[in-house]
Amino acid sequence: MRGIRGARASRDAEFTEFVQAASPSLLRAALVLLDSREDAEDAVQVTLLRTYRRWEQAKQAPQAYARAVLVNACRERWRHRRRHPEISQDLDELANVVSFAEAVDRRHVLVRVLRQLPGIQREVLVCRYLLDATVAETAAALDIAEGTVKSAASRGLDQLRQLLYDEEKRDRRVHPR
């Protein structure tokens, strides 16, 4: 009995250490991949829960495991939104009411621009530049070929540059110097 408790305590300690190290980047990635802070926090919780459930398997490479789980959790959320557009509408209305959250969100120009990218490009850029994954790790997390990662990263960066340029032009028009 004491052995089981000891094993559980050591497992919990390992997991807590991992969460402290990895959760900020996971939350930031989810924030870019999803549209709201609430959704991002939910997705991170689901990711960590699934990682904890399979900790014996995940602890060999917890970062890579959590990365793949996070991407899947975010995709599940997109699919759910697509199937239930009424929820998205409710949340949009809620977003109008919560003006403070919107005001905070407005500061995140880059995040907003990244959210305009197509799904796969956004996922690749998030994995490569927010979660610090290599091309091979990104390919494994997204379950795509390495060549697709490279092309999606290249196209995504091109589009991001264009969108940022447009954003800057619009900003100058609104606030002329």
Binding site: V19, Q20, L27, E41, V109, R161
Partner: protein, 112 residues
């Protein structure tokens, strides 16, 4: 905003600076562990109640439990395949069961 999206390093720095104030709750790990244990407890309770329910329905129907009868010996089963205990009977000749016992003939000694 002065970032160069084609420069990996500057994109990483820009993202870090923009999302630098985004932090998860401090007790996130405890929250996740607690949520996992709560779910597991609920699952175990569900499984136990399902077993109790099945046993509760099954026993009165005679499907299981102490009231059920042991399996009967199948006479058509080959003896070498049989796994239960059987009392071996000696082979009986054909028609032996139909012979009605007659009293033995009384031999009388006839005096010559």
């Amino acid at each position: 905003m002065s970032i160069h999206a084609d420069d990996e390093f500057s994109l990483r720095i820009a993202l870090d600076s923009e999302l630098g104030d985004v932090w998860p709750g401090e007790d996130l790990a405890d929250l996740v562990i607690e949520r996992h244990r709560r779910t597991r407890r609920r699952r175990v309770a569900g499984a136990v109640s399902l077993v109790v329910l099945c046993a509760g329905i099954g026993v009165p129907l005679g499907l299981s439990g102490p009231g059920s009868k042991p399996s009967q010996h199948d006479p058509g089963q080959r003896p070498d395949r049989h796994t239960g205990s059987v009392v071996l009977m000696p082979p009986v000749r054909a028609g032996a069961g139909l012979v009605i016992g007659r009293p033995a003939p009384v031999l009388t000694a006839v005096a010559a």
